[in-house]
């Protein structure tokens, strides 16, 4: 980090640390579990989500209001990070946030493929990347998958989308993920903080691949199908090791993971008979979050504290959504708690 780039990092890291302090503390979640949905909404109205809930309360009610307020707040918080950062940190945050562009494009394509209405599609978009809400609205108004792809001709991801030849979207979605990670990994410089950021991203790729392996192996998908969905560039799951795992059955897979650093976080809940994939994914997400928290203190003036905030904000929104959806569906507190990432 140069002498003149230090203030840019000092400014953004001070802001994200202050923002992280405002997140809902971990010990509040058990209290929320004992509340009913209207009480949860009232509680959320008294937090950082107040403005979003107030502004959307004329259009939505109940759980829909909460969903929209959470999505809007998440998008606004992430967009703010792009606005208030400068230099290399701005470049990295912008590249990192492109995952929301990919998420939104996938959501809109899927919506169009299954004939969802414009409103239904827009319920699930999070305007946090390069594509602003009006762009997403205009995409959601298009009449077909092909028309949505045409509207993205000036965007970098078009080089992947242009290969779409009709039919199922799985392939194009996998390619979008690969495109996103390849571009992000390329953007990372060689400062010590960015090297750790690279390690985090590689770990994230491993965790994504591990989730894919669990899901597809459980579903009995063949080797080629799994291979297409695997994102290259992982930290531990790579090269011959990864190729070996691709060829294994589900039961062989869970016996082969011993030795990877991720195994300790899921060893207790994985078994041949009854592995809950939701539980595995929750534990892996918690592993990733703890990893980010741990490394965020290594280089205080780097992208790492920003990354830590980004992850914690996402986890907060996910947890609030899980609690409110769980309450609406009258799930037991134990079931809801098991799905929370803490």
């Amino acid at each position: 980090m140069g002498l003149f780039s230090a203030p840019a990092y000092a400014y953004i890291t001070a802001r994200v640390r202050a923002r992280k302090k405002k997140l809902i503390p971990r010990d509040t979640y058990p209290k929320l579990l004992n509340m009913e949905l209207p009480e949860i909404i009232r509680f959320i109205e008294e937090t950082e989500y107040k403005k979003d809930v107030d502004e959307l309360s004329a259009r939505f009610r109940g759980i829909d209001l909460l969903e929209h307020a959470l999505n809007r707040n998440l998008g606004a918080s992430y967009r703010k990070l792009i606005e208030i950062s400068r230099g290399q940190v701005n470049y990295l945050v912008t590249e990192y946030m492109r995952r929301w562009d990919i998420w939104n494009i996938k959501t809109i394509l899927r919506g169009k493929y299954y004939g969802a209405s414009e409103e239904e599609i827009l319920d699930y978009v999070v305007s946090a990347g390069e594509l602003h809400y009006p762009d997403l609205e205009s995409m959601a108004r298009r009449e077909s998958v092909e028309a949505v792809i045409d509207s993205l001709q000036n965007r970098p991801c078009y080089q992947v989308l242009k290969d779409y030849e009709g039919g199922m979207l799985n392939r194009i979605e996998d390619e979008l993920d690969k495109f996103y990670y390849a571009r992000l990994l390329d953007a990372i410089g060689d400062s010590p903080g960015e090297k750790l950021f690279l390690k985090f991203l590689q770990t994230e790729i491993d965790i994504k691949n591990l989730k894919t392996l669990f899901r597809l192996k459980r579903a009995g998908v063949d080797r080629e199908g799994v291979q297409n969905a695997i994102i290259p560039g992982g930290l531990e799951l790579r090269g011959p090791d990864l190729i070996r795992l691709l060829g294994l059955s589900f039961s062989e897979l869970i016996h082969s993971l011993d030795g990877y650093s991720y195994w300790s976080s899921i060893a207790d809940i994985v078994s041949e008979e009854g592995t809950s994939l939701t539980d595995v994914e929750t534990k892996l997400d918690a592993y990733l979050m703890n990893f980010a928290s741990r490394i965020s203190h290594y280089y205080p003036l780097s992208i790492l504290p920003v990354l830590d905030y980004i992850l914690h904000k996402k986890i907060e929104v996910d947890n609030l959504r899980i609690i409110s959806r769980g309450k609406e569906l009258k799930l037991s507190n134990d079931v809801i708690q098991n799905n929370l990432v803490m």
Binding site: L3, A6, P7, A8, Y9, A10, Y11, I12, T13, A14, R15, R17, A18, R19, K22, I84, L301
Partner: protein, 75 residues
């Protein structure tokens, strides 16, 4: 002639003492000031603490000033 040269060198020394400590303080303050403003942008209550933290590197300039004054008035 020699006395005049010595006085000139003392003056240059005093200038360097204040100048370099000023630059050092500025380098320290740039990051602290940026962080303080960042914290204040999120919460105005940080104003007092932020201001205090920002001026802490100024103390090094006082050392420079003391050295300069000693050079000018003692030697």
């Amino acid at each position: 002639m020699v006395e005049a040269e010595a006085a000139g060198l003392i003056a240059i020394g005093a200038g360097i003492a204040v100048g370099l400590t000023g630059i050092g303080a500025a380098i320290g303050e740039q990051s602290i000031g940026a962080a303080a403003i960042g914290a204040m942008a999120e919460d105005e209550k940080f104003f007092g603490k932020g201001l205090l933290m920002t001026v802490i590197p100024e103390s090094i300039v006082i050392f420079g000033l003391v050295v300069a004054l000693i050079l000018l008035f003692v030697f």
